[in-house]
């Protein structure tokens, strides 16, 4: 009888896969966020982070004779790009200086930094709420100056800290806003609304007919997220969406959002000043300070980074945490 050679499958998939686990015949493959695929006994580094594909064996005894299948998915394209972008206020103050940033399809890019670092400005340049004083912001290859602002914004879900639900619309009408603007038939909108309310953890029957003033802060933000997703836009812009919530609700929503991210497979730009939140939700983190980009890191890289700005940020955060913990 011929002994079948043991096989392991290594799936090199998209960058935003988080903790995907597949049990093959012999090996357990775990794809980590930084692109390193660990297979018990085999170490594979994903090629799109600029490093050559390599197969290294940690445990040659286990690996000997293991037949590896590698399926490589091409590097995700750049969908949003800032080229030499500056933004000056009318009085002359620069909120952004010479920003160069590339955001890839399917990733969650967290813009991290303290207040006034230019994160929100960057976000608003993407959906043309602001236009750059210098440089270009490209979305799907076209400069925002060339985009019709309405068409652009309808392809981008927008979630802000104040949520901004229309007080005179029910939850259902709020969530169904963009579909109705786009002229979807009522049935399709209705079905979609219900689908999304379930997605964000709100029971459709209970909440669809309620008004925003009847909801708690956490519930309102969930509706805000649902609203942003209603027309299934490929992009999602989020400006400190969970900042106004109490710590318990915030932690809950963050966890849920983490799960949601995986299911959604959208390109997300997420602004926050909260380091923990940023590291938790990000595929990559872009640290900003004083209107300039310090650097872009994966969460792991961020923690280990030697850049003084990064270290200062980490330290400041830890101090804050310990102080709070001590209370």
């Amino acid at each position: 009888m011929q002994q079948r050679r043991p096989e392991a499958f290594i799936l090199i998939t998209r960058a935003d896969d988080m903790g995907y686990t597949h049990t093959g015949n012999l090996a357990t493959i775990e794809c980590l966020r930084n692109g390193i695929i660990r297979c018990a006994g085999v170490l594979v580094i994903a090629p799109w982070f600029g490093e050559a594909a390599q197969l290294t064996c940690e445990n040659p005894d286990l690996c000997f004779g293991v037949h590896l299948h590698m399926i490589v998915v091409p590097e995700p394209e750049v969908v949003i790009e800032c080229r030499g972008v500056s933004y000056h206020l009318e009085g002359g103050r620069a909120l952004l200086s010479d920003l160069n940033l590339q955001i890839r399809r399917g990733e969650t890019l967290v813009l991290l930094g303290r207040s006034g670092s230019g994160k929100t400005t960057t976000l608003k340049l993407i959906n043309k709420l602001l236009e750059p004083t210098e440089g270009q912001v490209l979305v799907e290859g076209r400069a925002t100056s060339a985009w019709d602002p309405i068409r652009l914004r309808r392809r981008i879900g927008y979630v802000i800290q104040e949520v901004g639900l229309f007080p005179h619309f029910t939850v259902e009408r709020n969530v169904g806003l963009v579909p109705s603007l786009e002229g979807w038939p009522a049935e399709r909108t209705c079905a979609r609304v219900r689908e999304l309310l379930d997605l964000v953890g709100l029971e459709a029957e209970r909440f669809a007919g309620r008004f925003p003033r009847e909801l708690s802060g956490g519930q309102r933000q969930r509706v805000g997220v649902a609203r942003a997703l209603a027309a299934d836009p490929p992009f999602l812009l989020m400006d400190e969406p969970f900042g106004a919530l109490d710590p318990v609700t915030r932690a809950e929503i963050q966890r849920e959002f983490q799960t949601l991210e995986r299911r959604l497979q959208k390109t997300i730009v997420f602004v926050t000043h909260d380091l923990r939140e940023g590291l938790m939700l990000a595929t990559r983190v872009a640290l900003m300070e004083g209107g300039r980009l310090v650097g872009v890191y994966t969460p792991e890289e961020f923690r280990r980074a030697s850049d003084p700005a990064v270290m200062a940020y980490l330290q400041a955060f830890e101090t804050a945490e310990t102080t709070r913990g001590g209370e």
Binding site: I156, Y158, E162, G164, F166, P167, L181, R227, L237
Partner: protein, 210 residues
């Protein structure tokens, strides 16, 4: 004949003059709203016009009503018929509260709501019709209420230039030195103002949003 008997005996005339008065007020308010609300909306879009438009409306309101009637008398088409003149003057008088309240009501819309609406791709028109106007409606209605009560009052003076309405009773009663005639005009006019105020207040309350 006491006042009640007098009212009863002359009910036809009182009724007729009340309707005349209502008509003057109704047409003027309709015109004032049709002109005032769009102007108020314009001011939110083009703040540069604020001084001109609000200033103009304020000046008109400051002119005493009788003087305003007097100014308009020599005007070519207007001055020929008293009701045209009265309606023009009443409309001008009602403009300021309506323009101001439309402007304020729209401005008061929460900035987060406005940002979310724009960010999600609402055109300016969609924003105006679906968000700003419905949310501002309560405040606009307050302006309409104030304007209506003012108009009912100024319309009584319109009788001085021959436009009719309940003011005619008042002026005739003064010439005749007959209190009953005066009251036949004054009481319905006061009642009209009170009722307008009451019903419009109730309507306003329905449209209050947090």
């Amino acid at each position: 004949m006491n006042i009640l008997q007098f009212f009863w005996k002359n009910q036809a005339q009182i009724y007729e003059l009340t309707l005349e008065h209502l008509w003057l007020v109704g047409i003027s308010m309709l015109l004032a709203v049709s002109v005032g609300v769009p102007l108020g909306i314009l001011l939110t879009r083009r703040p540069g016009f604020r001084r001109t438009i609000l200033g103009g409306a304020t000046i008109v309101q400051t002119i005493p009503s009788l003087a305003l009637f007097g100014f308009l008398l020599p005007a070519p088409w207007l001055g020929e018929r008293a009701d045209r003149l009265a309606i023009t003057a009443l409309t001008l008088y009602a403009l300021l509260p309506i323009i101001q309240n439309t402007y304020a009501g729209i401005k008061r819309v929460d900035s987060g709501v406005r940002e979310a609406a724009r960010g999600m791709g609402m055109t300016d028109f969609e924003l105006l019709i679906q968000v700003e106007l419905p949310l501002a409606f309560g405040v606009i209605l307050t302006g309409v209420r104030v304007a209506t009560v003012i108009t009912v009052g100024v319309a009584t003076i319109a009788a001085a230039i021959g436009a009719g309405g309940l003011g005619e009773f008042i002026f005739r009663g003064l010439a005749m030195v007959d209190n009953r005639v005066i009251l036949a005009g004054a009481i319905p006019a006061a009642l009209m103002a009170l009722l307008a105020d009451f019903f419009l207040s109730r309507l306003e309350r329905r449209f209050r949003y947090a």
